[in-house]
């Protein structure tokens, strides 16, 4: 049975993807913020697919110590039950914030959760992904187009704007996927970004202020989370690793011209510094 790890899997796109992939016979290891919501999500999946193999691991991925903790738990579980290999890691957890708020490390929260958490979790799970010749899938957004990374103020301390922070975090997701491909394609690991389109999720509900208000109106026009879930399912199911980087509705799509290897390398170096890790020095199994 192939093993897939999904973050942000208690609601929205993450839960829909977990449901779909569990029904298709994948073993699902899911990460969610609250223990209570994890239990609810697991029950919902098992109610639909009684034979599903699904385990939830509660963790607050906003905090780096929680990421390393849950990565340790996942690694232990995978080593014991899944042949020490992972077939796909879906970095989907995300948030929106009306106000500048920081994590325990003092990092801006949208940058920290939407992008940096996926970077660190991927690093921590890379030995399992390498052994499984696995795929890393980031949840992107079309909103990444028309923006550059604010290299001199990546946390947007001087002039925080919620939408800019969100767009930049999604551009970083694609740059990370590009950088990961540059480094690990030869080792059999492939990275992708899924553009889910406008989806009816709860991402803006806890954002407060203007984002909360705008999202309430905007999400009415969003698709059901099951729609983008099909693209995650498609990327996980392909026997041969698809050649593209950015996918929408199971088809390759265009992305920003900012996605270059030069920018990806620059972001890799910055992210390694912010996470205190170095890719390439992980203990490959």
């Amino acid at each position: 049975m192939n093993t897939i790890i999904i973050t942000g899997a208690t609601s929205g796109i993450g839960l829909a993807s977990a449901r779909l992939l569990a029904a298709k016979g994948f073993r699902i290891l899911a990460v969610g913020h609250s223990k209570e919501n994890c239990e609810k999500a697991r029950s919902a999946i098992l109610a639909e697919t009684p034979a599903a193999s699904v385990e939830y691991f509660p963790a607050d991925l906003m905090q780096q110590r929680e990421i390393t903790r849950v990565a340790g738990e996942l690694t232990e579980y995978v080593n014991k039950n899944c042949g020490a290999e992972v077939d796909a890691l879906i970095n989907n957890a995300g948030c929106a914030r009306s106000w500048y708020m920081t994590t325990d490390e003092g990092y801006e929260q949208q940058f920290a959760l939407n992008y940096l958490a996926g970077f660190l979790l991927t690093h921590e799970l890379l030995p399992l992904l390498t052994k499984g010749q696995g795929r890393v899938i980031m949840t992107g957004s079309e909103s990444h187009k028309g923006i550059k990374v604010h290299w001199n103020d990546v946390m947007l301390r001087r002039g925080y704007n919620p939408l800019t922070a969100y767009k930049q975090s999604k551009l970083c997701d694609i740059l990370f996927a590009r950088g990961l491909n540059d480094r690990y394609n030869a080792a059999g690991v492939h990275a992708y970004v899924v553009d889910p389109g406008l989806v009816h999720t709860d991402i803006g509900n806890k954002s407060g202020g203007i984002v909360n208000l705008v999202w309430k109106l905007r999400k009415r026009h969003g698709a059901d989370p099951a729609v983008p879930a099909r693209t995650y399912g498609w990327l996980c199911e392909q026997a041969e690793a698809p050649a593209g980087l950015y996918y929408r509705l199971c088809k390759e799509n265009t992305y920003s011209k900012q996605v270059t290897s030069e920018n990806a390398d620059r972001l890799f170096a910055l992210s390694e510094q912010l996470c205190g890790v170095t890719f390439g020095k992980e203990n490959l199994v």
Partner: protein, 274 residues
């Protein structure tokens, strides 16, 4: 520049630590939350490459403060700036709160601020300029029913800061009292501001801007800083309108907001219990 920040592991303290780190200042951070302190220390070192020393301390305990001071003295650290950020509030009417919780507001917001200020002033860098910041509040401008102890504790800090500033004026030092409206320091604070509706939104200040301007104003010798034009106007009105009228208006507003907020919290607690 060596800066000591209290309450550095969360909210405004963390934002100010970030701003100081961005400016390249060396930091001595303290907070009662030891784990959070280690996280922000690590984050600042990784972001800015500045020297950060962190020591967990309960500022309401003289013994705990003495232990921290011994670390400072052992390492011969002398300070150019003190940012007094640590503070606490518990929402609700005076008689609706536990006695010791009410007392703790004064113990931390006022008594602990005096203790650490006295200690750090004794350890200021010889011959250098010194800057101290106290976090008062927009609440210090008005009588605040349902936040009575908190508002009074912040009024104490405002008056104390102005007086201390005068005492130290001839000793190459400045003292600034920061009087912000609401700030989104935690998810709980975000929900509290949302419960106040329009007035919550318009009196809320962006934390990163407050952090930056607080340092700018303190270093340029200002005495007080009230962030936001509307908050400045409200503080002026507080000086013109009879205080008992203000108390009546504030009571109405807070009673409405707190009932709304507590209803949501109770509803959530009820759902969680299920």
């Amino acid at each position: 520049m060596n800066v000591l920040i209290t309450g550095a592991a969360g909210g405004l303290g963390r934002a100010l630590a970030n701003e100081c780190g961005r400016r390249g200042y060396n930091l001595f951070l303290t907070d009662v939350n030891a784990e959070g302190l280690l996280c922000i220390q690590r984050g600042l070192e990784r972001q800015f490459g500045v020297t950060v020393t962190a020591k967990a301390c309960d500022l309401t305990s003289a013994e705990s403060v003495d232990k921290m001071l011994s670390v400072i003295d052992t390492n011969h650290i002398r300070f150019d700036m003190l940012l007094n950020i640590a503070g606490v509030d518990f929402e609700g009417g005076f008689m609706g709160r536990e006695r010791e919780k009410v007392v703790r507001i004064i113990t931390l917001n006022d008594a602990a601020a005096l203790r650490i200020t006295h200690a750090v002033l004794e350890r200021r860098r010889p011959g250098g300029h010194f800057t101290a910041v106290f976090v008062s509040s927009l609440a210090s401008m008005f009588p605040m029913p349902l936040k009575a102890t908190y508002a009074a504790s912040k009024r104490f800090l405002l008056d104390f800061a102005l007086s201390l500033r005068q005492e130290l004026k001839d000793q190459d030092a400045n003292v600034l009292a920061l009087c912000p409206g609401g700030m989104v320091t935690t998810p709980e604070a975000m929900r509290g501001i949302a419960a106040q509706g329009f007035w919550g939104d318009v009196t809320t200040n962006p934390m990163e801007v407050v952090a930056r301007k607080t340092l700018d104003r303190a270093l340029s010798g200002k005495a007080t800083y009230i962030p936001g034009g509307l908050n400045c106007t409200l503080s002026l009105l507080g000086k013109l309108i009879p205080r008992k009228w203000i108390a009546a208006v504030v009571y109405r507003r807070w009673n409405y907001a707190q009932n709304k907020w507590l209803t949501v919290k109770e509803r959530n607690a009820c759902c969680n219990a299920k």
